[in-house]
């Protein structure tokens, strides 16, 4: 059997271009990985992680389990396209073997088997049925994709991504591939007979109603069209969002080997950036979008701009880094880390002369194994500070006060703005200060400080606690007694504490020891940002306030009489937006000390 026809050329060229582009990309990216990342890769390959990665590839790249969690219909759409197409290829392959036995068949022979197999008299109805079923499943996915363009709300998405021209070309080709295949195969069956419940029925309809000469005239062009659509899609794939189809696979493996985006941009970032399918699931959770109508800075657009080297600082900086989109990203891309290292690239200009004052500065007070770091924002909300003083006194704790009399910033605000090297100077200063005073526990009431102490300081021998954890521990140890005076409270999860450090339960346990806790509509992993995040240096005060007002409204709806939070910045911001009194967790505890 001859497995070549001129119409195969677009497909063959497309497939070749795609293969070369993919191999080149992946080889170059791995080649340029930082030495430490390459080490991780080599030491990870022959471990159980690789097997786990295979499982994850099946559940995520093919079945799209995480998208099912966002919305079942959206999940079905992605799974039917990805897994359906995958099965179509696999079953097609088996079909070829079933007909021809084990022999070499070129790629186009598998893909256009129906075209080449017309000379085979014997039919295997099982495969006709299976192939038609799979085609139908994929077509249903395409139909849903069309539907999503018209009415995305049906799939739980209020907004969808605005695509660039290249993506639109690839998308159009993708949409035509399967209808084109259906037409080409049906025409073939109409002329030569055969076909399953789908192609077969369409072909008998065509044979009955369309003249034989017309069928013959349409026959070759239909295969040309199918092949061209495949070719266009394959050529566009490595340069469009469809790069994600293949890139998610190495990403899953690399992530299993513990590779992550680093402080500075690195080659590994390419895997994360090009694994973005621009599905747009990150659009709806974004409060800049929903409250302020800003629609060109969300993670999908940030990754796109960075990928095509047209990222602007104003886009990189216009993000609250609240982590709401990261929590929902079906590919699990480290969106905040990538944005942060972009900012580093664009903004890291260390000013050596500015930090001379750090040498020999020590304004700390007191002595104790427990250190307390208030942080700048707690110093600006002194009710929290005085509440902590009362709590420490009530528990009989000897405290070393790191910065009550003024101290040096934890470094996270500078880090968030991209000034990594300047931040490091402050971090080094604070770290040395903590070691110098021999503390074993470091308590802070600011989640912004907490995050950087935990993630970046590497404080060996010092346990870092948020005050909510510390207070709960004191209560459980019986060192701190509160009277359950009652009262109706609602709690705001600060982004840096909740999604940032995973602390949700401790503050709630503390509140419930005092009174009743009423949850707002968005809570825990899904909680809203107050809007005043230090990470955003673009939006103005009035815009921050609009976010604060809208998110605060949820607290009023709970029927609580007091809003409690455990971040000094959130407290200040929510207080601006809410008509209810807003208190730090420590204030509530200090007011109810037994």
């Amino acid at each position: 059997m001859n497995f070549f026809a001129p119409f195969c050329i677009p497909f063959m060229v497309g497939a070749a271009v795609m293969a070369v582009a993919l191999v080149l990309k992946y080889v170059l990216w791995i080649w340029h990985l930082p030495r430490a990342d390459r080490k991780l890769l080599v030491s990870g390959i022959f471990t159980v992680q690789s097997i786990k990665a295979v499982g994850e590839v099946i559940s995520e790249s093919l079945l799209h389990r995480r998208i099912f969690k966002v919305n079942p219909l959206l999940g079905y759409m992605h799974a039917s396209l990805a897994f359906g197409w995958f099965l179509l290829i696999t079953v097609g392959w088996i079909e070829t073997i079933a007909y021809l036995g084990f022999r070499y068949v070129p790629l186009q022979g598998h893909v256009f088997f129906k075209y080449f197999a017309t000379c085979i008299a014997e039919h295997k109805p099982v495969f006709d049925f299976l192939m038609d079923l799979l085609l139908l499943i994929v077509l249903s996915g395409v139909a849903l994709a069309w539907g999503k363009r018209l009415y995305s709300k049906a799939m739980g998405m209020r907004r969808t991504t605005k695509h660039v021209l290249g993506d639109r070309v690839a998308l159009s080709a993708l949409w035509f591939i399967f209808p084109a295949r259906l037409v080409a195969e049906s025409l073939t069956c109409a002329i030569y007979g055969g076909g399953g419940f789908l192609t077969g029925s369409i072909s008998s309809f065509l044979a009955e109603h369309v003249s034989g000469s017309l069928l013959a005239a349409l026959y070759e062009p239909s295969w040309w069209f199918y092949s061209s659509m495949l070719g266009i899609f394959f050529v566009a794939l490595p340069f469009s969002r469809y790069m994600h189809i293949f890139t998610e696979i190495p990403l899953i493996f690399l992530r299993r080997y513990q590779l992550r985006p680093r402080e500075k941009e690195s080659s590994y970032d390419n895997f994360e950036i090009q694994a973005c399918s621009r599905c747009g699931i990150c659009l709806d959770p974004c409060q800049l979008q929903s409250e302020l109508g800003i629609n060109d800075v969300q993670s999908v657009y940030f990754l796109r701009d960075r990928r095509y080297n047209r990222l602007k600082l104003a886009v990189a900086n216009n993000c609250l880094m609240c982590g709401r989109c990261e929590a929902k990203c079906p590919v699990g891309i480290n969106l905040n880390s990538l944005r942060q290292n972009s900012r580093d690239t664009m903004r890291n200009i260390p000013d050596e002369s500015r930090y001379g004052y750090l040498a020999s500065l020590d304004r700390s007070q007191g002595e104790g194994r427990v250190g307390y770091f208030a942080g700048c924002m707690t110093l600006l909300t002194p009710r929290t500070l005085s509440a902590m003083e009362r709590i420490f006194a009530a528990a009989g704790e000897d405290v070393w006060w790191a910065d009550r009399n003024g101290g040096v910033c934890c470094g996270r605000p500078l880090k968030l703005s991209g000034e990594t090297d300047s931040a490091k100077k402050m971090m080094r200063y604070n770290k040395e200060l903590f070691y110098k005073h021999n503390i074993t526990t470091l308590v802070t009431s600011c989640p912004i400080c907490l995050r950087v102490f935990r993630d970046e300081y590497a404080l060996r021998g010092i346990e870092v606690l948020h005050h909510s954890e510390y207070i709960l521990r004191l209560m459980r140890q019986g060192r701190l007694k509160v009277d359950a005076a009652g009262g109706r409270f609602t709690y705001h999860d600060p982004c840096e504490l909740g999604r940032g450090c995973g602390i949700y339960d401790q503050p709630r346990a503390v509140i419930e020891a005092v009174g009743e806790l009423l949850e707002p509509k968005h809570t825990r992993e899904d909680s809203l940002c107050c809007g005043a995040s230090l990470a955003n240096t673009v939006i103005n005060d009035a815009q921050q306030l609009r976010i604060a007002r809208s998110m605060s409204a949820e607290f009023e709806q709970t029927g609580a009489s007091t809003v409690v939070t455990s971040c000094p910045l959130c407290k200040k911001t929510v207080a601006r937006g809410s008509s209810l009194p807003v208190k730090d967790l420590s204030e509530v505890v200090a007011e109810h000390l037994a």
Binding site: L379, L380, T381, R383, S386, G406, L545, A575
Partner: protein
Amino acid sequence: MKHVVVIGGGIAGMQSALSLKKRGFDVTVVEKSNRLGGKLLNWHCLFPSFTPATEVTDTLKQRIADSGVEVRLNAEVVEFDRHHVVLADGERIECDAVVLCSGFTLFDARIKEEYGYGIYDNVYTSVDIEAMLNKGRVELKNGGRPRRIAFLHCVGSRDEKVCQRHCSKVCCVTGVKQAIEMKQLFPEADVFNFYMDIRMFGPGYEEMYREAQQKYNIHFVRGRISEAAPTIDGRLQLKAEDTLTGRPLKISVDMLVLLVGMRSNDDNARFAEHSGLQCAPSGFMAPADMFLSNVASGVGGIFYAGAVTAPKSVGEVLNDGAAVAEAVTGYLG
């Protein structure tokens, strides 16, 4: 006889009622507290002449008593339109026109937590100082005499961070007045004023400002205080920036006075929604126009007088009272 209800028994309400009565209207003043006089009752004396505030309030109250204006105390208004004023107890007062004289609300200094009001000793607001002057006892918490006093201007004014963008107009000159009063009480003390701009817009104000510097040696530092913190010896340490020299500064003081601004009443939005009135972005009621109808509301039969439309000085409020009577007369004929 046409009946006009005046909402609010402060100086704006009293002057409006008197002017309306003089023009022959039947007038009722509705006041939610148990006495007439409003916020001025708590004031000691008035800039720039140091006239005792009681001279104004007592005179107006006496005139109201003599005029035959009906006064309803302990009567809070929940809603109104041009023909009705509804009180909290459900009573509806019929009328032909309404003059809204509900004034302003003082900015709550506790919101600017970084200044420590309500947290540290010896942090006061300008209102507290007037009350202390009225009692005749200005002293530190421990009964001592302050050796160093700082005034901070624009607390709750011109501050986006607390959603108060407008200028409260009278705090600058109040700060100068109170600084002079402090210096008179404690000649040995150093008195500092931390300001953004000094706005001396009225007659005699600039002269008083000059006198404060030349005669009383009061220090003026251009720059806002960023935070206050208690020191071990019970004083307050202030961090600020002197924006004229461009340097940060730290200073310990015995007393910090916050010159709190005037913000719009929370009621305004509700009244506006019910009666079809307009609020300015600042939350104060927006008059029909800024010039020729600045006591009219844009809704026929509803008028404004006093600080319900913007922060105003005592003199300006009293002028409004006379102007609104003219406007009501034009409306009711």
